[in-house]
């Protein structure tokens, strides 16, 4: 579903944010992407989603190169960023209709999905209000609802749990699992290691722009009784 091949990103100040990263995510997988602050998680996700382009390497989503066939590639995924920054002077329902139009969701499906997800996240009643009246968490829930609306093959989330109340965090985890069970793929970054540990089929750890491991939790643990947190701290300890 997602194929990242030898991808590097060097910024104009010669800082290499991502260095020769290769990662393959199969259909139906949930992959947790973890790493210390500034390790290159958001840069990698930004390259995958087409927000910035890689300096080297290729990124394919469902066989479509994000640079060569951007529209076809983008039809295959939706994205929730780490900050719910959207145009907030429109109503919640305007935003969701906007997203549905962009992904060509027909009327019946958009009605069903909007009702389903916004009721699950308890923001349905706020949809007729302008987004500037929403709390941080409500904006996050609106973005997640919008991203789920087109029923994407690949669901990409950058720090999705930030700002969510426990109830909504549980709802999101259930949705991610359900999405996977239906054959969808989830790729998300997080600092909440318990979520990654309990939810993901595989865990990718990035440090200083390099992917240091991408494997199942059992393989990473190598039969030890250590938690993901202990392993993560050991692998990424300050040198």
């Amino acid at each position: 579903m997602l194929n990242i091949k030898n991808v590097s990103k060097t910024y104009s100040n010669n800082k290499k944010a991502v260095d020769n990263l290769t990662l393959e995510i199969k259909k139906g997988e949930i992959i947790g992407f973890i790493g210390p602050n500034g390790a290159g998680k958001t840069t990698t996700i930004s390259m995958v989603t087409g927000i910035i382009s890689p300096t080297e390497g290729t990124i394919e989503i469902n066989g479509k190169d994000i640079r060569k066939e951007p529209i076809e590639a983008k039809k295959n995924f939706t994205f929730v960023p780490d900050h719910p920054t959207i145009i907030d002077t429109i109503k919640g329902i305007d935003y969701l209709n906007f997203i549905a139009d962009m992904y060509e969701v027909d009327i019946q499906e958009r009605k069903e999905r909007i009702e389903k997800y916004t009721k699950l996240f308890q923001i349905y009643d706020a949809l007729s209000q302008t987004i500037n009246s929403y709390s941080h968490g409500m904006k996050q829930k609106l973005l997640i609802s919008g991203a789920l609306l087109p029923n994407p093959n690949l669901f990409i989330l950058d720090e999705p749990m930030v700002g969510l109340d426990p109830h909504s965090a549980k709802t999101l985890k259930d949705i991610m699992k359900e999405h996977c069970d239906r054959g969808g793929t989830v790729f998300f970054s997080s600092h909440v290691l318990e979520v990654v540990e309990n939810l993901c089929h595989r865990v990718a750890i990035i440090q200083k722009g390099e992917l240091i491991v991408c494997d199942t939790l059992d393989n990473i643990k190598k039969n030890s009784s250590a938690t993901l947190e202990e392993i993560f701290l050991e692998m990424t300890k300050y040198e």
Partner: protein, 532 residues
């Protein structure tokens, strides 16, 4: 005092780092050129001030150059200060943090005004600074005048800025509440600006008793007193630069008094206006939850228009620049400065096609909307980049948004202008072709500037649409094109006006296609690389 210095320092550092970042050009030579661009803009100011100096010198009163420019500068600073103050006080992103700090309210107000002061001081340098330098250096070097002049220049933005602050902050709390507060802010501010201009014009036109005029003129410095009679600080400033200590004391005292007044009012202004404004939001509630399918392009254009409409600073700026000819025209007609029959006179008949074309094309010339089409989105820019639309469409819809707003304004101006100018159908048609071709070109060339310099991280909306070099670059392009068109006109001025206009339309169409080609070949790739 330490807290005030720290708070002010952080505002100044932020201002200059944003300015430095706004230069984000990788080419060293281009970088230097961009830094010196504002200096280039001093050249027309130098030209105007020199002419004024020469005129006043012929009546042996060159110091009136400073008086005249200071009055004009004060009025300009007062009006332009309104937009800056609203932006910095009500729409800047740091107020949430600053309001939690253990500092006095007046410290916050004064430190916020520091960044407004920097903007206004730079603006003052163009004309007032130039007039002081010219007065002190032409003929013989008057060093004392130059030094005092620089001190006066430093002080000059204070009075209009404080006056603006004292009036606009309570005014904003008056109009800035309720569901339709954005609309109220726009309408309120436009009416406010219009009202002040009308009042000012009426005051200057007020007839004085001829005997009184004679008495004034018979005095020493009669002309100076006459010119500055409605605004005495202009007399004090002029005399101060000439070396008069009593007038220097008066000028310094009036500024000090205004600072004191603001200091006394600052606490109340902060609590009753800023806090009140920030605790209310323009929330629209109610209405049905609907499910409606719309065309992708239409939705994105709607989004771009909404970005302008929903932000009072963006909207106020757009309205003021695009409809400037209307505002000025209405005000001058209302005050009798302009006679409607002037445009229908036979002397102007051969030039009517040019006048009409200039009026309807002015929104595209003044607006520079495409030059900030990406910048206006700020940090929300990521969104259209992840949507399944092509880069070409992503750029195209931004240009369409500019075209819709520009053409709408042109249409309104065109209809109003028909009332004042006798134009036939053919003139309207040819002028419209010219307007369309020029608007197309300017909308496309401006977006190139914005792709080159996207500036997504801005602290206040004014910084996004007004105080950045994109606008200066955009105006510079217009100056260059204007010079080319002017010289071309001189060469072919004997030709029929309609033929000339058709030729110019063709010239703009060619430029439009060239710019479009450049976007496709170079700037689509650059657009992809814009990192939010």
């Amino acid at each position: 005092m330490n807290k005030f210095i720290s708070l002010t320092k952080i505002q100044i550092i932020d201002f200059f780092s944003k300015y430095a970042r706004s230069m984000n050009t990788k080419n060293k030579f281009l970088g230097i050129l961009v830094i010196f661009l504002p200096i280039i803009l001093i050249l027309p100011a130098y030209q105007i001030v020199t002419q004024l100096y020469n005129i006043f010198s012929t009546i042996n009163a060159p110091e009136l150059t400073i008086t005249y420019i200071y009055i004009a500068n004060t009025i300009f600073i007062f009006f332009i200060g309104i937009a800056f103050i609203i932006s910095v006080f009500f729409y800047s992103k740091d107020l949430r943090l600053i309001s939690t700090l253990p500092v006095k309210e007046d410290t916050i107000v004064f430190s916020k005004l520091t960044s407004v002061y920097i903007y206004l001081f730079v603006i003052s340098c163009f004309f007032l600074g130039t007039s002081i330098v010219i007065y002190s250096t032409i003929g013989e070097l008057k060093l004392i005048s130059l030094i005092i002049g620089i001190i006066a220049l430093l002080i000059s933005p204070l009075l209009p800025m404080i006056l603006s602050t004292i009036i606009i902050l309570p005014f904003m709390s008056l109009v800035g509440s309720g569901k339709k507060r954005n609309l109220l802010i726009i309408v309120g501010n436009l009416l406010f600006i219009g009202g002040i201009v009308v009042m000012q014009t009426l005051l200057t036109r007020m007839q004085m008793d001829p005997e009184q005029i004679r008495n004034i003129l018979l005095q020493e410095d009669g002309l100076l007193i006459m010119l500055g009679r409605n605004f005495p600080p202009s007399i004090w400033l002029t005399k101060m630069i000439q070396g008069s200590i009593p007038h220097a004391i008066l000028f310094l005292a009036i500024n000090a008094i205004f600072i004191l007044i603001l200091k006394v009012l600052a606490k109340g202004l902060y609590r009753r206006t800023l806090m009140k404004f920030n605790q209310e939001q323009a929330v629209i509630q109610g209405g049905k939850i609907y499910y409606k399918k719309r065309n992708k392009g239409l939705q994105i254009i709607k989004r771009h228009i909404n970005i302008i409409i929903s932000n009072p600073i963006f909207l106020l700026n757009t309205l003021l620049t695009i409809f400037l000819p209307i505002f000025m025209g209405v005000i001058f007609l209302f005050t009798g400065e302009l006679d409607g029959s002037l445009f229908k006179s036979t002397i102007l008949e051969p030039y009517q096609i040019y006048i009409y074309s200039a009026i309807i094309t002015s929104p595209a010339v003044m607006g520079s909307l495409s030059a900030t089409a990406i910048t206006r989105e700020g940090k929300a820019f990521w969104q259209t980049k992840v949507l399944p639309i092509s880069t070409r469409d992503n750029i195209r819809y931004r240009i369409y948004t500019t075209l819709i707003i520009s053409f709408f304004a042109s249409l309104v101006l065109g209809i109003i202008a028909v009332y004042f100018i006798s134009v036939n159908l053919m003139t309207v048609l040819i002028s419209s072709i010219f307007c369309i071709s020029a608007t197309l070109f300017l909308s496309v060339i401006d977006i190139i500037i914005n792709i080159e310099r996207p500036l997504l991280n801005w602290s206040s909306p004014t910084a996004a649409v007004k105080n950045n070099l994109n606008i200066i670059l955009s105006l510079l392009i217009r100056v260059v094109i204007g010079v080319i068109v002017y010289f071309a006109y001189i060469i072919i001025s004997a030709w029929e006006a309609s033929i000339i206009m058709i030729l110019f339309s063709g010239f703009f169409i060619i430029l439009y296609f060239i710019s479009k080609y450049i976007i496709r070949k170079i700037y689509e790739d650059k657009f992809i690389d814009i990192a939010p």
